[in-house]
Symmetry: C2
Subunit: 211 residues, 2 copies
């Protein structure tokens, strides 16, 4: 065992496994997420690094079938628009892809950036406020993997339509729309890779300057 | 022990600890990061979820003193501009804050978003390409915690000045500038909290709709 601040080899491997075995899940079992588990996920979320310690986030939890169906309709509209951008084989692959699990997932989280008082660190790069919200999503995603809970990020959505649907106050901006639930399975590979959508490239890594 | 896909309680706790004991580090020891450790960190980075599996990132590693000093000068300029926005007690607190460890850290990583071919999922929310890069940084940050390595995100920088300095090709955009190294200590609390810069608020969490 490591101490609180030091990690044993087994603990370090568990952390890497949560990172490497994380998937974007699109097939969910209906079982709800227990509130005590959800609280732990939020603890991870809220512990994310945020610029100037602003924690510029807010979350709307969606459990009602009616709301899920409204979001699903928004997704269908965005998907059919995106589909038209692809032709031939790419479009056929696109048509076969499962790109969300909105109607199955027991819980949706709509993650917003909210207005915060000026703090330090976000004058030259104001986008770091938004990035802080993304880091919180990343924390939750990794914690969820360790809890056996799947997360799927649905980006094929008109964010302003979601903001209107959920009654977002002025200045609140949708950053991420997530489906959460116990997955039907953990895919060994990312679904897009398995479907032949894209092949992975090695990391681009340069020394001292761009070549 | 859990299987590859399932986590034992001890493994789950290790994952939460990596998330909760992660800090933004600004005091580094000079010891270099071994290449095999850096490779593991990159494995975590490259395993991040990315929209359409685009992996739209590229990294420049900076180890030379001269480059570090040039980046430090850019930071000093941005810091003095930001300082002028605060008055009275806030400015006195600001002046005492350590906001980077650029000259101490053995390694800097300048993390860029790079142009990628069109893929799926980023038509309605093109910003998800940038968010993918942020998620990769979050992965690396958590893996680094488990390795005993500190990461400090320096956001008080003019990103275009950094892009010019490092010779970024057209379409490459700085997302994060990171300092990496073994920390002098792991602060029990975030440094900004300890300095009294901000007090933490509870997570804003709503049900079904904004109130």
């Amino acid at each position: 065992m490591g101490s609180y601040w030091a990690f044993s080899q087994g603990e370090r491997e568990a952390v890497y496994r949560a990172i490497l075995a994380r998937r974007d899940i699109r097939h969910f079992r209906p079982d709800p997420i227990p509130e005590e588990v959800l609280k732990r996920l939020y603890q991870a979320f809220h512990a994310a690094p945020s610029v100037g310690l602003t924690k510029p986030w807010a979350v709307v939890e969606i459990r009602e079938r009616g709301t899920k169906e409204e979001v699903f309709a928004l997704h269908q509209r965005a998907r059919s628009q995106e589909r038209a951008l692809f032709q031939g084989k790419a479009q056929r692959v696109y048509d076969r892809l499962r790109l969300e699990g909105l109607l199955e997932a027991p819980l949706h989280l709509a993650v917003f950036q909210r207005p915060v008082p000026r703090s330090l660190g976000h004058q030259t790069m104001p986008e770091t406020l938004t990035y802080s919200v993304v880091l919180a999503v990343g924390n939750l995603w990794i914690a969820a993997r360790a809890e056996g809970i799947g997360v799927g990020w649905v980006s094929i959505l008109d964010p302003e339509a979601v903001e209107r649907l959920l009654g977002a106050p002025p200045g609140y901006r949708l950053v991420a729309y997530l489906c959460l639930g116990y997955p039907r399975a953990w895919p060994e590979e990312p679904l897009l890779k398995r479907a032949g959508w894209r092949h992975e490239e090695p990391l681009l890594r340069y020394r001292e300057r761009f070549p």
